[in-house]
Amino acid sequence: MLALANRLALKALWVAGIFLGITLISFAVIHLAPGSPTDMQTTLNPLATAETRARLEKLYGLDRPLPVQYLDWLGKLVRFDFGQSLSGDHRPVWDKIRERLPLTFSMNIVSLVLTLMIAIPIGLLSAYKQGGLFDRAATVFVFVGFAVPGFWLALLLMLLFGIHWGILPISGLTSMDFATFSLWGKTVDLARHLTLPIFIYTFGGLAGLSRFMRSSMLEVLRQDYILTARAKGLSTWAVIGKHALRNALLPVITILGLSIPGLIGGSVIIESIFALPGLGQLFYQSVMARDYPLIMGNLVLGAVLTLAGNLLADAGYALADPRIRLGGRSRE
């Protein structure tokens, strides 16, 4: 138990350190802008008044020494106070982010589940008959999958399904007359709008995950306990499906945690192509409008979500692996 408490304490210390690091780097980004972050709204903008400049400088506290600025910003950050958007509505950044989260989250969850459901069988079959026809076909698919730019695939699918065949909408989350639909009609309409974006998300994750699953499975199949299981006459299904699969799935948990930054980053492109009102589109709009408080809010949130994802993956791994769960001793 003591070992576990120690490990948790170390982990907590690590998390606190990483969080501070995230805020430090984000803070450095604000100060990257040549001159000051307010230039874009002031000296470079002939319409900006002295009053605008003063408001911005007050917002950032730019007249004070750097360490004070940082501590002040950090203090606001932990209270979810990211300041106000510079856009016309002047709404708090956190409110703008919060309303965008559900769409991006649910799209990512759906595509993650789909990716797992497709990639695990592909990886498993490839490893089971390594070098076979299926394995070769899967390898070709993986290489092409890695090389296809997601935004280009999106354009091609829009061209094919949206324009050529005209069977799927290519932009937005709902149709114009959405409000008049029945509940079922609304569900179908949403699903039709999300089909292509979710396909792109899923395709993007498929190559990496199936490759990873394949090598994880190959690794497990080389182990002695698989030989034992075979030697005692278990059926192929029992060996592969029970003994091997469960062990091969363990590292996938880690990969899921590691894939979060890619998913968050990918949402920028997919959501702006398909005009979906999610977090990625909000971030893209804030970058285009140089809405600095909104950019910073998104950046810090993206990093913190990644950190949380890594921690969840760690915890999931510990829960799933009896060597860690029961032994309390890691391999180090």
């Binding site: 690590w14 350190g17 990483i18 690091g21 995230i22 430090l24 780097i25 980004v29 604000i30 990257l32 802008a33 040549p34 972050p37 290489f143 092409v144 890695f146 090389a147 296809v148 730019p149 997601g150 935004f151 280009w152 354009l155 091609l156 829009m158 061209l159 324009i163 979060i260 930054p261 890619g262 968050i264 980053g265 990918g266 920028v268 492109i269 702006s272 192509i273 971030f283 893209y284 804030s286 970058v287 285009m288 140089r290 600095y292 950019i295 910073m296 998104n298 950046l299 993206g302 990093a303 913190v304 990644t306 950190l307 890594n310």
Partner: protein, 284 residues
């Protein structure tokens, strides 16, 4: 000497066995060559407007791949755009490998507090969705070819740093390093003459795959209008123009994407087969 020739022969056989490597080299080689010879191969200069040839479909005389909404020749723009992609790939990866090597060598060799500081820095950088970080930095600076290369380089060194640190840790305790230290060699000398060459193989693999990644990032940025700025052509920004006229001129959205696909595929093929050839743990 015989050991060396034996090793060379083994290497030659391995290379011959790897059709993937040749396919990758052929793809990257032909695309690079075409881009380098762009002035000779391009039917017109990439920024010449022609109001009489707006959105001409592919296969027309003088415009094998058609023209865009401003009457610019797509093939010419793609050839010149290839230069941008290759250049971004090399410079960005050069920068990230340089940073990763330096930090990885220091972390692995000196250990202790230095190691702790550098590796926690890697952990922090890995927490940022890299595309978010790149976009944020580009928003604070201005989008330009130089800025993009620097920003991609500064946000992609973590893999190399981890790799080099692991190699350095493994080599640090070996006898030849001890011998070098006993004979009075200083740390920088040991790092660059003895450790670096031994860590070169995995770095080469990672750098090759890194070029592919950098090209994808640059094209995504340019597609969003935050990368290479018009009128300078890049595969990404031709696709951005193509999206506006997707219905009437699909060719603008098809060809540059194929160029990206084949280039990235080529680098990945080279990188993966180099990994197979160079990694003794995978060689049976």
């Amino acid at each position: 000497m015989s050991d060396l020739t034996g090793r060379l022969r083994r290497l030659g056989r391995a290379v011959a066995r790897h059709g993937m490597l040749w396919a990758g080299l052929a793809l990257v080689g032909s695309i690079s060559l075409a881009s380098l010879c762009a002035p000779a191969l391009a039917p017109c200069p990439p920024t010449t407007l022609d109001v009489n040839a707006i959105l001409v479909p592919p296969g027309s005389t003088g415009h094998p791949l058609g023209t865009d909404a401003l009457g610019r020749d797509v093939l010419s723009r793609m050839l010149y755009g290839g230069r941008v992609s290759l250049w971004v790939g090399f410079v960005a990866v050069g920068l990230s490998v340089a940073i990763g090597l330096l930090l990885g060598l220091c972390a692995g060799y000196f250990g202790g507090l230095v190691d702790e500081a550098i590796m926690r820095g890697v952990d922090v950088m890995l927490c940022f969705p890299s595309f978010f970080l790149i976009l944020a930095v580009i928003a604070f600076l201005t989008p330009s070819l130089t800025n993009i290369m620097i920003v991609i380089g500064l946000t992609s060194w973590m893999g190399v740093a981890r790799l080099v640190r692991a190699e350095t840790l493994a080599l640090r305790g070996r006898e030849f390093i001890l011998a070098a230290r006993v004979s009075g060699m200083r740390a920088p000398g040991i790092l660059f003459y003895h450790i670096l060459p031994n860590a070169a193989a995995p770095v080469l693999v990672s750098a090759t795959l890194g070029v592919a990644g950098a090209i994808l990032i640059e094209s995504s940025l340019s597609f969003l209008g935050l990368g290479v700025q018009p009128p300078m052509p890049s595969w990404g920004n031709i696709l951005m123009d193509g999206k506006e006229v997707l219905e009437v001129a699909p060719w603008l959205s098809i060809f540059p994407g194929l160029a990206i696909l084949f280039t990235v595929l080529g680098y990945n093929l080279i990188g993966e087969s180099l990994r197979d050839i160079l990694d003794p743990r995978l060689r049976q």
